[in-house]
């Protein structure tokens, strides 16, 4: 079943008197449980594509369906609910809440969903173990190295059992060894939780982890290369 359906997606950015087209008519479908990588050079539109799928940015034209929701016609409140319940984010710069410790960061989305404190803590405890950070539960993000912070971000993204996790260059700020471990973790979570992962990268070494690769260039999807 397709969890994401995109047809004729266009996204333009006004730059003074000029219009800069970031996406020029993208058609894409993503199946449930996919572990997909979007690859392309800088400025190709991969981050824009992820942002539109993640309901962070809005299409200029075209149709974007996430689950059964046509997101181009939703209100801010509805879109926020979709982000909370259906989508998890992993950012390049981790973006953890600095005043909350590891376990609190992980359970944060559950508390936004008005889950009870006990329920949220129970789920967060499970995930903190899965990402291997149990002994760092009460540490603040500033006390952790980049790789561990990204693990926290992954756990936070997974805690609400989202349908989709979007990761924008998740290993860009990490060394190759740490980056590889993060990708391994993401792949494992994909297998265990059956969550659809879509991550963008311009690093060819990252591609070997993907089960599906979508190449984007100048705002358009190119033919998908066959996987080795």
């Amino acid at each position: 079943m397709d969890i994401i359906e995109i047809k004729g997606l266009r996204k333009d950015y006004p730059l003074g008197d000029t219009i800069v087209p970031a996406l020029r008519g993208v058609d894409l479908t993503v199946a449930e449980g996919d572990f997909m990588s979007i690859i392309g050079p800088s400025g190709s539109g991969k981050t824009t594509l992820l942002n539109v799928i993640g309901c962070i940015d809005f299409a200029t034209a075209g149709s974007v369906k996430v689950g059964e929701h046509e997101i181009t016609s939703l209100t801010d409140r509805q879109i926020t609910e979709i982000r909370l319940n259906k989508i998890g984010f992993i950012f390049q710069t981790f973006n953890l809440i600095p005043v909350l410790n590891v376990i609190e960061n992980i359970e944060f989305p559950l508390l936004l969903m008005k889950k009870s404190a006990a329920e949220a803590r129970k789920r967060a405890d499970k995930l903190i173990e899965e990402v291997g950070l149990k002994e760092y539960a009460v540490h603040r993000p500033a006390e952790l190295p980049g790789g561990q912070r990204q693990r926290v971000a992954i756990a936070r993204a997974l805690v609400t059992n989202p349908d989709i996790i979007l990761a924008d260059e998740p290993t860009a700020n990490l060394d190759s060894v740490t980056g590889a471990s993060i990708l391994e973790l993401m792949r494992r979570m994909n297998e265990i939780e059956k969550t659809t992962f879509i991550f963008s990268t311009h690093d060819a070494n990252v591609l070997k982890y993907a089960r599906r690769i979508v190449k984007i260039k100048d705002g358009l999807i190119e033919k998908e290369p066959a996987l080795a």
């Binding site: 942002n51 993640g54 909370l84 809440i97 909350l100 609190e104 924008d168």
Partner: protein, 501 residues
């Protein structure tokens, strides 16, 4: 809610510098607002005590013919219109349940004459029934030399301020009949000239009026020297005389004249408003030279309320505690229709004094509001900067599903915590300061400052209501100050956060 306050509290601790800036402003604002409210309350209580309960009452009845409401500190030369219908007025007042007490008075200007000099001085005369005056204003002044006049006694009380002024003008030191010079009460200049001090135990005064009645110069024996509890320089302009002597001085009908000379039919005529004035002064009704007028025996004056039959210039009225001025004024004026008088508030009747009290109160209020505005502006700036600096964090929260209300709640929570802690500390400090200030006995001789101080010494007061008012003002500052930063914060989108990164 717990999450919001947890994040808010930890953010306050994380950004200690900014939190301290906002905290200090809130502390200072709350402290000054508390003390300011205390000063306003102290001033109001002082006015209540010294002016309302000490000199004029809440409301004043004046003649409808009186052009200006200001009868207390009016321009020299403009006399106060007589009120001739006191008997009728008294019945009306006695029937009003909101009226606690009332006192008819005569008030006008008199020339102070001295044989040794051709240049007259001036004094305000307040003609009263001394016994009734004491019941109306029991604590308004103390007699520091001589004695308080006995009921029905012909008497003059000179306030210390007026006595000092007379000394400056005439080089005469007045003292009570049968009294001795009290060195402690002497003015500095008089003390320096003690050996050659001119003393006198009586004063000659002639009433001044723009009416057609003929005034008379009266030699007043000085019965006592009095000092007002506060505002002595303002109230100290008023020499208190017995009402009958006042009437003689001003050429009004005395009670004796009314009782002894006026036939019944013409008495009834006198009770009418707007009657033909000429007929009142024709033939046998002309006031005779007061020196030849029959001296009323003390015994005669003890007869109940005889002095009420005569002319006054005003009636001071005290309302029951808690009565609303506006409503009482309206009801009273309605009830007094046809009696030839109208009721005004003490502020209006006291002219510049009432106006000054209002100005001081308004100035204090504006000061408190300015504090409020400055606090709001600084807090708005600081919080807005904080919101912009935390764009990544806020954008990320929005990206993972935090609604705008959560973000707004977070900012409001931070401001509320700062307000409660620092603002609360400011209020408590203000309460302590208001308690301590009266102990310092900060005094002033300046009457305008005495109005502000609420008396001779600086005496701010705080009621539970005042503390509540400050808390409400603080709450208002908190909410208003948080509004714009909240708006800035909720406008931050997840995309803004990623773009900044």
């Amino acid at each position: 809610m717990k999450l919001i306050f947890t994040i808010a509290w930890r953010n306050i601790l994380r950004h200690k510098g900014k939190s301290l800036v906002i905290g200090v402003i809130l502390f200072t604002g709350a402290f000054l607002m508390t003390v300011g409210n205390g000063v306003i309350s102290g001033m109001a209580a002082g006015i209540e005590k010294h002016i309302v309960n000490g000199f004029m009452g809440d409301l004043v009845l004046i003649s409808e013919a009186q052009k200006s409401d200001n009868i207390l500190l009016n321009l020299m030369g403009s006399s106060i219109e007589p009120v001739t219908t006191y008997k009728q007025i008294k019945e009306v007042l006695a029937a009003q349940p909101y009226v606690k007490r009332f006192l008819p008075v005569g008030k006008n200007l008199a020339m102070v004459l001295d044989e040794s000099t051709s240049a007259p001085g001036y004094a305000y005369l307040l003609g009263v029934d001394f016994a009734e005056y004491r019941k109306m204003f029991p604590e308004s002044f103390t007699v520091i030399e001589g004695s308080y006049p006995a009921p029905g006694q012909r008497a003059l009380l000179i306030p210390t301020f007026a006595r000092d002024e007379f000394y400056d003008f005439y080089n005469i030191w007045f003292l009570p009949e049968g009294g001795q010079v009290v060195k402690e009460n002497l003015k500095k200049e008089a003390l320096a000239n003690f050996a050659t001090l001119n003393l006198s135990t009586n004063v000659v005064m002639m009433g001044m009026t723009s009416g057609i009645n003929t005034t008379t110069d009266i030699r007043f024996p000085v019965t006592g020297i009095n000092k007002f509890g506060a505002l002595n320089q303002i109230f100290g302009h008023f020499c208190l005389v017995d009402i009958e002597s006042y009437r003689e001085c001003l050429g009004y009908f005395t009670a004796a004249d009314m009782a002894a000379q006026v036939p019944k039919e013409e008495k009834e005529l006198l009770g009418l408003e707007g009657g033909d004035l000429d007929s009142l002064f024709g033939g046998e009704m002309m006031v005779s030279d007061v020196k030849k007028a029959p001296k009323l025996k003390a015994a005669a004056l003890n007869e109940p309320k005889l002095s009420e039959d005569g002319v006054y210039n005003a009636v001071f009225i005290k309302l029951n505690d808690g009565e609303d001025y506006g409503a009482s004024l309206k009801k009273l004026n309605k009830a007094l229709a046809g009696t030839g008088v109208r009721a005004v508030t003490w502020n209006k009747a006291s002219g510049p004094m009432g106006g000054m009290a209002l100005i001081i109160k308004s100035a204090l209020f504006i000061f408190v509001m300015l504090l409020f505005c400055v606090a709001v502006i600084i807090i708005v700036n600081t919080l807005t900067m904080s919101a912009l600096e935390r764009s990544s964090e806020i954008g990320m929260m929005r990206a993972v599903g935090a609604h705008k209300t959560f973000i707004a709640g977070m900012f409001l929570g931070e401001t509320a915590i700062l307000s409660s802690v620092f603002g609360g500390a400011g209020i408590l400090s203000g309460i302590v300061a208001v308690r301590l200030i009266p102990l310092l006995r900060i005094t002033t001789q300046n009457d305008m400052l005495q109005l502000l101080y609420g008396g001779n010494f600086f005496n701010p007061l705080l009621s539970l209501g005042d503390v509540g008012l400050t808390a409400v003002q603080l709450l208002f500052v908190t909410v208003v100050a948080a509004l714009y930063p909240m708006r800035v914060a909720v406008q931050i989108t997840p995309l803004d956060a990623i773009s900044r990164d």
